[in-house]
């Protein structure tokens, strides 16, 4: 217990001292996770909505596949992306392995099914009703899609926040494709893992506090938004 309290004290001092290394790790984590969430959102929202409103052959299988991927272990996502972008892989010529771009790709793969699944669930509930309403009021397909997105905004926001939470807190994928290289691909989760094995608890606790703080802030915003709605 004494060790934890001492760790917390040292962590606060470290954060208040604006240690460059700590803050570069924090900013890289935020950058990688935000970009991954952004790219995943661009793809997952339309896919989730289409799954919710369109009927097609194999739909049930596609949905089960999405649900399965929602709990995809990060190390598997990391491994697959690594095999694709490693030097001998089909995209090896791009030279992406052990770069922040590779980390963004791996996290995007993790986040896409989460946002898709959550948006699909919301659309399944009221997508067709909104579509019917839009048609009865004379909306064309573009306006119908915009209306759907507006009506599903809580589900979409929940999906994005959940996806971001997943991205920022995972360690396996970024460790495999990023390599935890100091000053280059080192993010909060990989650093905490490394520091714990080294017995350097102060910085690990400091980063842990920042991770928790980010999670708390994002969820607080979502909570108030949902309450307002």
């Amino acid at each position: 217990m004494r060790e934890i309290l001492e760790g917390c004290k040292q962590a606060i001092i470290l954060l208040l001292s604006f240690d460059q290394e700590v803050y570069s790790i924090i900013f890289l984590s935020l950058y990688v996770s935000l970009m991954a969430t952004f790219f995943a959102t661009l793809l997952a929202i339309p896919v989730g909505i289409l799954l919710g409103i369109k009927d097609f052959q194999w739909k049930n299988i596609v949905i089960r596949f999405v649900y399965t991927l929602m709990s995809l272990p990060p190390v598997i996502a990391g491994l697959v992306v690594f095999l694709l972008i490693s030097r001998k892989g089909p995209f090896g010529f791009l030279g992406l392995v052990y770069t922040p771009t590779a980390m963004i790709i791996a996290q995007t793969c993790l986040v896409i099914p989460i946002i898709t699944g959550i948006v699909y669930n919301g659309t399944k509930e009221k997508g067709k009703t909104v579509q019917i309403l839009a048609k009865t009021l004379g909306a064309d397909s573009r306006h119908t899609l915009l209306l759907l997105m507006k009506e599903l905004r809580i589900d979409i926001l929940t999906g994005i926040v959940t996806g971001y939470g997943r991205a920022v807190s995972e360690v396996g994928a970024v460790m495999i494709v990023g390599g935890n290289i100091k000053g280059h691909t080192r993010v909060m989760t990989t650093t905490i893992t490394m520091l714990q094995s080294m017995g350097n608890y102060e910085m690990a606790i400091a980063l842990g506090m920042v991770l928790l703080g980010i999670s708390f802030t994002v969820n607080t915003i979502l909570y108030y938004y949902q309450r307002g709605e």
Binding site: I132, K135, T136, L137, G138, H143, R153
Partner: protein, 236 residues
């Protein structure tokens, strides 16, 4: 808007739910659609509103077959309306925004309609805080605000209080009389049909059993099924 239905058939799988050889609803008429449950009334409304397809047959709106332009000029109000997750004002204004009506004009028309329907105080309430009756009034206002040529109403006053019903009926009647809107009203209430409709279509098992002037169909029906239905309704 004049509607002409010709050899309309609608099947759900092997089950035939609608079979109408010929039906002509005159432009500007107020037509009630009556019949027992499962008669195909709501299916007919959905098909006319472009919300469901036909198995075979044709529907002509002012002589034209269904197209995007036709659907721009009509709307449907259901028994359980869906209101957008926004204010009442936004809900009523939405069809006008779709039609790119100027902001000032939208403001004027929404306020005027809200005043006529005695719901000015609801304008800035969030839609999900409304009671069932209030929501139904908002749905009707949203349908009337862009002055459609055809208004399809599927039991819009079911489960609402008498005061709201009076307001809604008055607005529907006004749209028909002043704007010349063709109205098709699905109703189970014979008294409502008597108050509002000029013509009645009586349906049973997907077929039009009788179509004619309201007084004739309700008080001296030619078809025995219509007679039984009307008598049953009167007894109730």
């Amino acid at each position: 808007m004049e509607i002409v239905i010709s050899n309309l058939v609608k099947n759900y799988g092997q089950h035939r739910v609608l079979e109408i050889e010929e039906l002509k609803i005159a432009r500007g008429s107020f037509c009630g659609i009556m019949g027992p449950n499962g008669a195909g009334k709501s299916t007919l409304v959905k098909i006319l509103g472009g919300l469901d397809g036909v198995t075979s047959g044709k529907i002509y709106y002012d002589g034209k077959e269904s197209s995007g332009d036709v659907y721009q000029n009509m709307t449907v109000v259901f028994q359980k309306p869906y209101l957008l997750r926004d204010t009442v004002f936004y809900n009523i204004a939405y069809p006008l925004m779709l039609r790119k009506v100027a902001k000032k004009e939208i403001e004027t028309r929404v306020r005027q309609l809200a005043e006529e329907m005695a719901m000015e105080d609801l304008l800035y309430r969030k839609a999900w805080t409304l009671s069932g009756g209030e929501a139904q009034k908002v749905a009707l206002a949203r349908a009337l605000v862009f002055k459609p040529a055809l208004l399809l109403l599927d039991e819009p006053t079911a489960n609402i209080d008498p005061a709201s019903m009076v307001v809604m009926e008055s607005m529907i009647k006004q749209a028909n009389a002043k704007e010349g809107t063709t109205i098709l009203l699905v109703t189970h209430h014979i008294h409502q049909a008597k108050r509002l409709c000029g013509d009645i279509v009586f349906m049973d098992k997907g077929k039009v059993e009788e179509f004619g002037e309201m007084r004739e169909v309700i008080f001296s029906p030619r078809n025995i099924k219509t007679k039984w239905f009307m008598e049953g309704e009167i007894i109730i």
